[in-house]
Symmetry: C2
Subunit: 313 residues, 2 copies
Amino acid sequence: MTLPVFDLAAIERAATSQLVLDTVRAALIAHAEGRSSVPPPLHMAFPEADGDCHVKAGWITGAADFTVKIATGFYSNHGLGIPTNHGLVCVISAHTGQVRALLDDRGLLTAWRTAAAGALITHAMARPDARTLAVFGTGEQALLQATWLAELRTISTVLVHGRSPHKANALCEQLHARGLDARPAATQEAAAADMVITTTPATSPVLNATHVREGAHVTGIGTDMPHKNELPPALFHRAQLIATDDHAQCLDHGDFAHAVRAGATAQDSDIAAGHLLKAPADRPETAITVADLTGVGALDAALASAVLDQLLR
Amino acid sequence: MTLPVFDLAAIERAATSQLVLDTVRAALIAHAEGRSSVPPPLHMAFPEADGDCHVKAGWITGAADFTVKIATGFYSNHGLGIPTNHGLVCVISAHTGQVRALLDDRGLLTAWRTAAAGALITHAMARPDARTLAVFGTGEQALLQATWLAELRTISTVLVHGRSPHKANALCEQLHARGLDARPAATQEAAAADMVITTTPATSPVLNATHVREGAHVTGIGTDMPHKNELPPALFHRAQLIATDDHAQCLDHGDFAHAVRAGATAQDSDIAAGHLLKAPADRPETAITVADLTGVGALDAALASAVLDQLLR
């Protein structure tokens, strides 16, 4: 029997936004309820090529499949005219250990589960009448977060804040093409939107906590390593509700970690994002809410398995 | 571009014994000289299915490729009529991070590199005039170790010791089919052979150290977990030369570890097996020598890369 390998085009067709949102929602809830298994990742470094490789595994307890995801980042590749990131997902039966298939997704599913998680949590935590969205950052995730959130609720305007005016304009064009009103904005105006999503690789806060309005919600998705930091500790101090996608991980290397270390909030001040998807918390009109998402391996497993089922249907 | 996947039959054709022996020899030397990178493996357990998954990565420093090897063992599979072990090897460029190919080898390359390492070290450490070989154990590795050693030197007789007379006879038949003289033997006779290779999953020593003759060489390859143990500490006490494939690993969970903990030998009494392949040590006629092999991830990387080069030629 030949091992099935599915390429990017097939995966892109199978992974409809509805499938991704439903699967990520269920996986975040399962993870919040302790029904997941995520071992410490394996890591290799290739200093001479400015590259690294991360291998992450995940399993929703009791699910039919688990996954092993191999992701590489070689940061001199752009000079060679090839993509920086590569990777694939291996879907394996949790009943027999047989490799069911390989998804040669070039990192697509990781990007989409990240976007879906951000959109779902932002939608669940923001006020029902929140309308303006600001995205910090002008990369793939900025586009995806706005696009996926627009699948869940009406967005009146997307304010785009980026260091490069050229890239901010280009993102606005892409958002227009998807039917969204969008325009570049300075950091102070962007920080004052009803909903704020930060998607940068910043190593110091991208907004000032005093610019965030009462009643607003802020989701940070870019802080996935200890040296990164997008949201200021003072924002966590102001927040009346803090959600994390994985408490231990956010306490280790999320924006939440920076806030706890700065003494701006207590280390048990957060609740699991998945719980809010199951039962939204009551929020006072004037509350500020914050979500810190660092990426959960169990979501990779759930999504790859669901996409494979779709591909084999 | 579709990701190339090579199946077992293609890999089996490409991995000639010469290629495997040459590659494993060079990789053991590189590992002994510190020219390898092997991060801690990733592990997942599936208790309800009596299964586990290990992911191991390896790189010979400076080589063009590194590998990520996924191996599963699901020990209730035999009841389902499917193999217990599954796995594949992912060969990745160490220059760009691009996945070059997948080797769907079902564990073949791991078995072959283990056999090649055992045969190479046994050949390097045994007396030039050693002729009789005993294998303890009657599984795949017993067959492979005898067969590969016979590629390197003349073996007059293979003495097969196993707990099941039926399986010992079956292995003798297989060895006959490969042109080797072979017969079942009791533990005392087998332990007195010129060369001894143990290939069992035993949890207590399979031979008595007093039965091993002066001038003999013993290689243990079955002790790859802390609870396993094939060779008695007293054998290490008698030995004048002890080789390990990886000092730290053998000190953690090899037969060498049992001997050191029992006080039978000093924890710095071993030398790297790879050094002996490069420059064989002088050995007195009457010396007993011992090799403890626990399996080195860098060998997987070297072999998979070499086999892929052959497949793409």
